[in-house]
């Protein structure tokens, strides 16, 4: 069975249950899936659970293999993870940080790793930042370097936590079209996004997460409806179809029923 299947994912922080047996539909290679939902809905937690960075109940299967039983080193080759933010205090240069992504868990030769890391930075259009210390980069630049760290091992599954939060318009397009391209090569891409307009434009599938469960999922036009948005976010929204099948979400105000 090709694809990512997450079933019955549950996570508790102490007494508080964040995810209560959440099921995701089968996410196929070639698809970009966006996880959306209100703050504290458990989107980041779900992403970390899938990446096996967070102890959890339930099962995560990638191409039929239970990820919890895949040795760490092999897992690193299968999964690329981009966290919400990179620490700002490091004096490592961008290129070194991407090389570390290759050499920390593996025994890759220096020459090979250096060239691969540089190639990824170039591909993302940030080759000029290669020798800048991370501490000298802006939030958006750090986010691009973080993407480079996630994709440099050429993973089958790419998990991204709010990858566009600090990016300007041009970089947002660059990052999202890169994600589309990576998916097009047969990868599974899952990203948490807050911007529903971006989600509508770039995702094949949107999963709305609410209250620790999958509230709704499907193609953008199926999920981004006034009814569902009112249920999940408690807002009054208008959804308009524009040219070329694009969807616009406009928020008129808070929902009367709250």
């Amino acid at each position: 069975m090709q694809g990512l299947l997450a079933q019955g994912i549950s996570v508790r922080y102490g007494a508080r249950s964040v995810l209560a047996g959440l099921d995701l539909p089968l996410l196929r290679p070639g698809e970009v899936t966006v996880l959306a939902g209100p703050n504290a809905a458990g989107k980041s937690t779900l992403l970390r659970a899938i990446a096996q960075l967070q102890p959890h109940g339930g099962q995560v299967l990638l191409d039929g293999r239970d990820l919890a039983h895949v040795p760490m080193r092999d897992r690193a080759r299968l999964i690329g993870f981009m966290p919400q933010s990179l620490p700002s205090g490091s004096s490592l240069v961008a290129l070194e940080s991407v090389i570390a992504a290759l050499r920390a868990g593996d025994t890759l030769g220096a020459r090979q790793a250096d060239a691969a890391a540089m190639a990824v930075l170039d591909k993302l259009g940030i080759g000029a930042l290669a020798l800048e210390p991370l501490s000298a980069l802006s939030g958006g630049q750090r986010q691009m370097v973080s993407l480079a760290q996630a994709i440099v091992r050429d993973p089958r599954l790419l998990l991204l936590d709010e990858p566009t939060s600090a990016l300007d318009l041009a970089r947002q397009v660059r990052l999202l079209s890169e994600l589309r391209r990576l998916a097009g090569e047969g990868r599974i891409v899952v990203a948490v996004l807050h911007d529903l307009a971006l989600a509508a434009q770039w995702a094949d599938r949107i999963v709305l997460i609410h209250g620790g469960h999958t509230h709704a999922e499907g193609a953008p036009e199926q999920v981004l409806t006034p009814q569902l948005l009112a249920q999940v976010y408690g807002v009054e929204a208008r959804v308009e179809r524009c040219s070329r099948g694009r969807i616009m979400v406009m928020i008129d105000g808070e929902h009367a029923a709250g």
Binding site: A51, M72, S90, V93, A101, R103, D106, A119
Partner: protein, 344 residues
Amino acid sequence: MSDATLQRYHRQGRRNTLLVAVLGLAALAALLLDLVTGPAGLPLAETLRALTGAEVARGTQVIVWDVRLPVACMALLVGAALALAGAEMQTVLENPLAEPFTLGVSSSAALGAAVAIVLGLTLPGLPPVWGVSGNAFLFALGALGLLQLLGRIRGGGPEVLILFGVALNFTAAALLSLLQFVASADALQQLVFWTMGSLAAAQWPGVVMIGVVLAATVPFSFRAAWKLTALRLGEDQAKSFGVDVAGLRRWTLLRVSLLAASAVSMVGVIGFVGLAGPHIARMLVGENHRVFLPASILTGALVMSLASTLSKTLVPGVLLPVGLVTSLIGLPIFFALILRGRRR
């Protein structure tokens, strides 16, 4: 363009390797300087001849080989061990202030020494000369073991370890004060001397012991260099790169424990080197641990060796406690580097 950038990156790498080599030479020079200074006022040529094994007077022979050389080697090795311990601690505990001194290792060692000096309680079976060091080693190792155990029970991250370390530091200091309070004047003087850090008692067996500990731990530190570098990018990142962070932290802290405990038990409480050595190294070569770790080791050795020389020459005819001197010479260098780093 990418080729040019890679070439520049490799040039920077070579420059850093060169810097490490220069640090190594400087440490060697400092060792020699340390050897040729001393109250006996031996001429330089005579000292060098004794070192190379040429025929010299019996007294010169003894001074150089049995007094100065063990002290100088001890300074070098203790500096190296403390700085390496500090560097690795700062990385795995994700805190720039972490070092054996701040996390209670040194004060626990001092407490152990006090138990030997004041109460006369030492490990059975150990020759009396080693009583104080043996206790200090045991207490220092015990402090770090306790720290790890508490951290494991609580299951928390590095913040928990740091908090426990700080608490441990205060507890050991309080118990030490208590022992000082009840100590005889004689024991008190011995204890105060010990807590200021001294190389005067350095002997060959101690030098060999700390050398063995270094030789046994350094290869593992270097092998973990990329893993430690990855940890600087955050715990989640390191894990997603395939690093077993919990295991890395455990093994690194074990190495640190051995290094810190053996260093402190030999020479007493010496602050600053474990903190400043890594910081100076970081400012010189950055945070790629493949150069950062060797640079830390050599910086620590250099600082400690210079401190040893200065402890003999700062006040003519008086051998100052070397722990005082590390702070005295280390601090200005440290501040200068911080201020320079700010301006850049």
